[in-house]
Symmetry: C2
C-alpha cells in the first residue's frame, strides 16, 4: 500500500451506561459501509479506561469517498438514531495521512 | 470479527524535519511484523497538522502477541536505530478494546 490514504480517528462519548448501545450502532454502520467505495477500514473500539468512550478508526482511499458515504440515506438514518445516545456533541475527528503499514488491502 | 482484540494507538514526535525518516523506520517495522502472529493491523500515519507527529495504529489478537513482538531481535534493533530521531520520550499508547468493524481479517 503506497499511496497516502485519508485517515480519521474519531472519539464519541456516550451517555452513562450507553457505550455498548452506541458501539452497536457504529458496528451496524460498519456493516453498511461494507460496500462503500473507498472504505478500507472502519473499526469500533471502546476505551479500556471508560466503556462509554468509543473510538472510531477509519481509513478511506480519499476524503471525498468518506464525505460521500455520509450522504447515504441508510447512514444518515443510522446517525439520527444514534445521536440521542451521545453525552456531548462529537468533536471533529483527527485527520491523518495514512502512509502505509500492515493490514490494509 | 466478533472477539474483542487488543488495540493500541500510539503517537511519536520526531525531531524537526525527521517525521518522514521516523515514519520510514516504522514502515520497516510493519514489514517485519508481516509474519508476527496475532498482528492484525499496524498502520503508520502522519498528523495533517504536523508532519513530525507520527501515529501508529495497531490491532493485535491479544496483548501477549503484541508484547512478544517487542522481544524479536530485529524489532529491538530497529527501535534502537529509530530512537535518535525522537524529539521526546514516547508516551504510552492508548489502549482500546477493538469490538469489530470493517477492514480486519
Amino acid at each position: 500500500m503506497s499511496i497516502t490514504k485519508y485517515g480519521l480517528f474519531g472519539k464519541l462519548k456516550a451517555l452513562p451506561g450507553q457505550g455498548q448501545a452506541l458501539a452497536d450502532f457504529l458496528l451496524e454502520a460498519a456493516r453498511l459501509l461494507d460496500t462503500a467505495s473507498g472504505c478500507q477500514l472502519y473499526l469500533v473500539s471502546t476505551d479500556v479506561t471508560d466503556a462509554d468512550t468509543i473510538w472510531v478508526t477509519e481509513v478511506w482511499d480519499t476524503q471525498e469517498d468518506h464525505d460521500r458515504s455520509l450522504q447515504a440515506p441508510a447512514i444518515r438514518e443510522l446517525i439520527g438514531r444514534a445521536m440521542p445516545l451521545l453525552a456531548e456533541r462529537p468533536e471533529p475527528g483527527m485527520t491523518v495521512n495514512v502512509l502505509g503499514g500492515k493490514g490494509l488491502a
